[in-house]
Assembly symmetry: C2
Homo-oligomer: 455 residues x 2
């Protein structure tokens, strides 16, 4: 479905202009980004635009309206991925560039949204440039090899509907569309019904991809700490994620003697503490461990909990450390079961090794940054992105701009305007080169286990 | 409203028959109790009859139907307490006897329900006995001093609508009716609307009480361990309950370095573990500590929790131990705040000292058990009951029957039929003596801080 086109690369566009955007380009980008930031705004100056909610629908309307204004036509595929298309070379595949407009329940304004707004403006500039090269409206003398599609991937966050990265997982064939459409939220509404309700359940498979580019805020502080404007993402940390159920037995909190209790919440709490202790066991902040979700049953003030469900997340750049951490976890869980008088079911829901992007893409991005005079360095991504799905099927470039204090999944997330605008310049140049086929033939990376629909 | 009548006690009924129930009485009780147990039955052979739900309404219909069959008229007060009344002495106050028909979400069949069924059958036997003493239908020669009201207290459990013991708290003037009626469940439905919907929002203050009796399963194993049939409840354990909010800061689980995290769930988990450590600090099972309810925000797999709300519960028969435990808790919380990089707000929601029942009531119950040849001993209640509200306004007798393995707030709760029927015999005799004024003038107990609407 998404096999990269095989025409040999040319260096045609490499020779084209690589100037940064004008002051007008920056102003236009910031204006559009600010109007997006107002959609689903929370009292804490963040956003709440969970997938296929009215706020998400409003963000998607922002997208289609601007796309039309900038000369793109839009289409929606069978899982609600939204594409803005411009065709320079009829019948040729598309370079896809984008990110996601959906958000966590109380999220910052940059996560995903920045990447979509930047992609739309990169597309606008390239479309303007192509049009200016053919003032008579005829075929431009040097039409790009590939067409261009700006994309808003459906449900990257996965908080309303699991798993995350749903739209790109379906697009890349990693997740069957029917399975994704049947997923329900906690109110019992399916993805299919939610998309239908907001009028965004489309059809078909979307445009055929030749390459992919995405830009995102770092969600960490390595770039800010090193004074770097552009991060060239070369790999994703290794990760292991588990869904866990702690089984105890319901009892009266007041009257049941401690020795008789099988307190599922005590077992779960010891597991949360254990996971932090495992992170602290390794010096140098090389392992991140988390429990973000934990639900207690029956959750009554006067009932000893009978069941707790939780999600554990371990991430590291070192696969040996991950293996050691897993061993510590196994031993710790056995101890908790014995000491807290509970049983613990652990299922590994996702796992992947160090997951590299194509080195040729990193090299191309480094060239673009150098041309534009932007400081740059290779960085890991610790979080998942739709680009992790895309890089497994087409040559992909993943870029970061700095995030102040590394704050992420938080209403206070912030990237300064200069960095945000430099990122748009950078993305524009990268996409221009991808449209000219400069990454054609980049080998698919050697990946660990595929991160299917996870972030 | 509920001042005890002041007529001097007589010993008239003391001289009356104190025989146990007949085989027919036991069979009738078990038949009615089993029909009640089928209402709101869960797949795990327990019940789900949360307050003012359709299942609760069905249990209340069971009550009114049997009450009519046994010669009582029924009325409902302004907070949904349901009374079955029989008047032997026009204008005199009533001995109230009962418990509650509502349950926890996955509860056993005995908690509350046994006490209401036993009260209805005690009332039936006494009504039959009174009627048989006046075969010509005229005024019986030795009418009891007080009339009799069997009661189903509204919302004792407090799981759908907080606080627990709501009906008896309003009846005894400890909780304003308007405040109780305005309480909403998690779906936003008020007590007023929920009662109206099931047709059980009554009016007025219910009958005036002269005394109160209640029977319940033990919710502990002291009686089973000692082979005792009847528990004479002499006091409620001291308790302290807290509502706690742990404040952290939202962040990305994958990308945020551990040192930057303010993980509210880590802080909450350490608090759960601390509370158990405090219980273990005292030998001899003298302190019960629990966290039954814990809710995580935003509760997304990929977001470090920003806030956790939980409820802590400490109970003991020794007020010195409670004071020591509170000091350990304060010190532990300060350590957790520092070490887990969170802030913790703690509010004491309820607290009471050792809370005794009237010794005269305990003595009267001991006499009744001896007359009936039933083994008996004084026991604490560790859980709250509506009788704890009632004993503060009228002379009150609280009785227990054994519960197999002490299981409570659990679908596997079980009391064998012989013990259940012995309890009905016992309750019948106690109520007969209360109706004859044998506890008149029993002093109100010296209580600690009033347990307002809590269990």
């Amino acid at each position: 479905m998404t096999a990269a086109a095989t025409r040999p690369a040319t260096t045609r566009a490499h020779e084209s202009t690589s100037q940064p955007g004008t002051a007008g380009d920056a102003a236009a980008f910031l204006r559009d980004f600010r109007s997006l930031s107002a959609i689903g705004e929370t009292p804490g100056h963040g956003v709440d635009r969970q997938a296929a909610t009215p706020a998400d629908a409003q963000a998607r309307a922002w997208f289609t309206s601007l796309a039309a204004q900038y000369g793109f036509r839009t289409e929606t595929d069978r899982i609600g991925n939204l594409f803005a298309l411009i065709e320079w070379n009829p019948g040729a595949p598309y370079v896809l560039v984008g990110s996601h407009l959906d958000s966590q329940p109380t999220a910052g304004k940059y996560d995903g949204a920045y990447g979509v707004a930047a992609a739309l403006h990169a597309g606008r500039r390239l479309a303007d440039r192509a049009a200016s090269q053919s003032p008579d409206g005829g075929t431009p003398p040097a039409a790009p090899k590939y067409n261009l599609a700006v994309v808003d991937w459906f449900n990257e966050e996965g908080c309303r509907f699991a798993p995350s990265m749903m739209g790109s997982s379906v697009y890349t064939g990693k997740l069957p569309a029917d399975v994704a459409l049947a997923v329900t939220d906690t109110a019992g509404t399916s993805v299919r019904d939610a998309l239908t309700e907001i009028g965004h359940l489309g059809s078909g498979f979307g445009p055929t991809a030749a390459a992919y580019a995405e830009i995102h805020i770092e969600q960490g502080r390595s770039m800010e700490d090193s004074g770097t404007t552009i991060g060239l993402v070369h790999a994703c940390w290794a990760a292991a994620k588990y869904t866990v159920t702690v089984h105890g037995e319901q009892a009266h909190t007041g009257s049941t003697v401690i020795a008789d209790r099988k307190d599922a919440l005590l077992g779960a709490s010891r597991l949360v503490v254990l996971l932090r202790e495992i992170a602290d066991h390794f010096s140098g902040a090389v392992l991140h461990t988390s429990v973000g979700q934990l639900t207690v049953y029956p959750n009554s003030p006067v009932v000893v909990p009978s069941r707790v469900e939780l999600v554990m997340d371990l991430r590291t750049a070192d696969e040996d450390i991950l293996a050691s951490a897993k061993a510590l976890l196994r031993a710790g869980i056995a101890a908790i079961e014995a000491e807290a008088n509970v049983s613990i079911d652990v299922a590994e829901s996702h796992a992947w090794g160090i997951n590299p992007y194509q080195p040729a893409g990193v090299a191309l991005a480094a060239e673009c940054a150098a041309e534009l005079g932007l400081s740059h360095r290779q960085v890991f991504t610790l979080a998942g992105h739709d680009s992790i799905n895309m890089k497994d099927v087409v040559p992909t470039v993943m870029l970061f701009v700095p995030s102040v204090d590394g704050i992420s999944h938080n209403e206070r997330e912030y990237t300064n305007d200069d960095d945000a605008c430099a990122g748009v310049d950078m993305l524009t140049r990268v996409v221009e080169r991808l449209c000219n086929g400069d990454l054609d033939g980049a080998a698919a990376p050697e990946a660990g286990a595929r991160p299917e629909g996870t972030k």
